[in-house]
Amino acid sequence: MKRSFFLLILIVLFLSLFFSSADAQVQVRLRAIHASNSGSSVDPSLRDLHKELGSLFSFTSYRLMKDEILNLSLNQPVSISAREGRIVLEATLVGLHKNMPEIKLKVVREGTEILNTQVRLLPGRTILVGGPRHLRGGVVIYALHARF
């Protein structure tokens, strides 16, 4: 009786551990930015990134196209489209390494996969995925960072 009770406790503990890791979820902020040289305006909601963008790129205008908080679940891809759906970024949480989310990113341009990468989101670090051309000139830049 006592032994079976003890075994039951152990089973409950291991099951709770298993389910706690199985339902891992991560919040990621994803912003789609249209960077161009037409004009010299910077979207006010990109103030926190303006310095980095200015030091990295030579564009004069940065316009926010999308700003979304993605709730990524393990192996559940989430897609964000930009440039009227011609460029799609697909983000998939593939695991957690030392509590840091590992995310697979795919950029698809007009049905063709142009980028396949896997990144690890560290606290305070921003990942910029850019380069695909925008119809109105300039490029699309995606800015990602995990919310811990």
């Binding site: 006592k2 980095e52 142009i114 990144v119 560290l122 850019g130 380069g131």
Partner: protein, 170 residues
């Protein structure tokens, strides 16, 4: 008769204190029927007992013995203090839970819980020293460049989306 009296008189005090066996009691009572001297001796014992018992009981009734309790309390205070281990042992000895020997699975459960808790604690303080931000980059259509700015904490993955594309993998 005299011999009989001398052997009975040895038993008489124990008979009076009701400490004799059944056999001895029958013997004494049989002798008392036929021996007035021994009956007198028994009567003397009864009178002596009454003489002592009555005043003693009266004195006890009046006395509440406060000094006895004071002494007991002082002894308790002076008693050596137990160490934490002795206290634990004594608690274990009196606890019915531990008498039932369920402490082995209980300790095992606590150890498992500690292991789980430690895992969670260590998860929350990861080491970033060996952390690579970009694990891999692939592109079958465009050139890709990766660069990291440690000061700004920014990692850039740039796809060179040119009209004329090379078949390059980075």
């Amino acid at each position: 008769m005299k011999d009989s009296c001398s052997s009975i008189s040895k038993l008489l005090e124990r008979y009076f204190d009701q400490e004799v066996t059944d056999r001895e009691r029958v013997l004494v009572e049989g002798h008392l029927h036929s021996c007035p001297a021994c009956r007198d001796a028994l009567k003397s014992l009864e009178e002596l007992s009454t003489f002592i018992k009555v005043p003693v009981e009266a004195a006890i009734q009046k006395e509440d013995f406060p000094w006895v309790w004071q002494k007991i309390e002082r002894e308790i205070r002076l008693q050596k203090k137990l160490t934490w281990w002795q206290s634990l042992r004594s608690w274990i000895d009196i606890s019915p839970l531990f008498r039932r020997k369920v402490w082995i699975p209980a300790v095992a459960t606590v150890v498992v819980l500690l292991l789980i808790t430690a895992q969670i604690i260590f998860k929350k303080t990861p080491s970033y020293a060996d952390a690579s931000v970009v694990e891999y980059v692939e592109s079958e259509t465009d050139n890709v460049m990766v660069y990291q700015l440690e000061k700004q904490k920014v990692t850039v993955i740039w796809v060179f989306d040119e009209p004329a594309k090379d078949q390059t993998t980075s």
